[in-house]
């Protein structure tokens, strides 16, 4: 559906949306499914409306970095598959994929959500490194929130693989019942702004029509761990104030959805 920017903008000013939702309402259904890939140490599939993403956790034992000999590490990568949208092409990640990966990464990393010291097996020699790949299956808008939700769900579902005590080799086919040492559970919510309206969970068409966005990652106590402003338009301090309030409120909603799905 091709709808011009002005129409969406005008509707938003009237507090209306093309699909009849309230401005700060998430699409339905919200489905969160874990263990969707037996080959990953942890995995999840998240659906918000028509947007579908998958996240998979792979673990490996590596030598810790020289400046943090007692810690493991994490890395989050995102792939915008050409399978998921006519707008994506094969090839190395573009800036959109890089931004998605880095914003998702910072939400987890800066909250110190994973106890990096507990990932260490032998100081200076061996520690667990966590790599999370976020893969788009259908991009119908709001990848930031879906990616963050899938990442947290996959991390929560992950189990360490068995390590042979003699050779130190990882047996990826056998999982232990040891979970990752998660200290916090950060989730990102992106608030979009157009004129004086704020909206949540835009569709792909709405995403293209908005002037500014602010992604806010926060943990269960409401502590903010990462932010990213996007879009062309500037924001006032007052805008940021309102956008953060909305993001924190919606993070609670997503957290409830996640807990419902995992219990």
């Amino acid at each position: 559906m091709i709808v011009n920017k002005e129409t969406i903008s005008q509707l938003t000013n009237e507090g209306k949306r093309l699909d009849g939702r309230a401005l700060t309402e998430y699409r339905q259904p919200i489905n969160i499914e874990t263990n969707i890939s037996w080959t990953a140490e942890g995995s999840a599939r998240v659906q918000i409306g028509e947007t579908v993403v998958m996240a998979g956790v792979k673990l490996s034992l590596e030598k810790p970095y020289n400046d943090t000999p007692n810690e493991g590490g994490i890395m989050i990568n995102a792939e915008l598959l050409p399978l998921s949208s006519p707008d994506y092409e094969s090839g190395p990640p573009g800036i959109k994929a890089i931004e998605l990966a880095r914003v998702t990464d910072r939400g987890i990393r800066e909250a110190k959500a994973i106890d990096m010291k507990k990932l260490c097996v032998t100081p200076g020699e061996k520690a667990w490194f966590v790599i999370i790949d976020v893969i788009t299956i259908n991009d119908a808008g709001n990848l930031f929130d879906a990616a963050s939700l899938a990442t947290l769900a996959a991390l929560k579902a992950a189990k360490l693989p068995l390590v042979d005590p003699e050779t130190g080799a990882i047996n990826y086919k056998k999982k232990t019942d040891v979970s990752l040492p998660l200290l916090k559970e950060p989730l990102a919510v992106t608030v979009y702004k157009n004129n004086n309206s704020l909206i949540i969970d835009p569709t792909a068409e709405e995403e293209k029509s908005f002037d500014a966005r602010l992604t806010v990652a926060s943990d269960e106590k409401g502590t903010i761990s990462a932010m990213q402003k996007g879009g062309e338009a500037p924001l006032t301090i007052e805008d940021v104030d309102k956008m953060c309030d909305l993001a924190l409120e919606k993070a609670k909603f997503l957290r409830e959805e996640l807990n419902k799905a995992l219990n």
């Binding site: 998979g56 956790v57 792979k58 792939e79």
Partner: protein, 238 residues
Amino acid sequence: MVYTKRLDGRKIDELRPMEAKAGVIPNADGSAMFKAGKTTAYAAVYGPREMYPRFLQNPKIGVLRCHYGMMPFSGSGERIRPGSSRRAQEIAMVMTKALAPVVDLSAFPNAVVDVYVDLPQTDAGTRCAAISAAAIALADAGIPMKDMISSVAVGQVDGTVVADLCYDEEAYDAIVSDVPVAMTHNSREITLLQMDGEISKDDLIKALKLADSVLDKVYAEQKRALKERFPMDKGEEK
């Protein structure tokens, strides 16, 4: 003959449990999921659309172009680095050749039909699952097709000819061969044939005959998925 009982308890001609679903990716013009045991393939079709780069266009006929990718967490060992590999490119090429004979793109000169297949989890037989998913997705997209393509791997494990090998069978510590096959449903012609390992000519022919018979089951699941996507009674109401 040593290999009389299969590692996962299946009969020698028994396929792993299959599940297919059409229309799983709303952005695509056609799409499908095909699952065989613990191997899952998602396929999306985009097109016919204008082909870029332009020099690849064919002014006489549309071009079918397949793409294949394993997700970084889809291997049973270490993480797979994202991006195309030699293996992925070869599989994409043989997939294209396996599907092209039934796809009629004569009405779409200069256009391309892109088929993207990505797998979130794998346990051998990935190119076969990819082809079976892609064929459903092409039909879902309404691309003119003369026949259906179904695919399965057959092979020989320690002297026994079996259907639909899982990874542990491919890696079995004995003489093993793996023969991925794709066939047209009505004309019973082979459009994909690869082989690695060791096999006698007699066993190869036996394996191909086994593929010919078990592929009907793959076809039945593909057809079921398409019927589920396009129920007859709704079409008749219009």
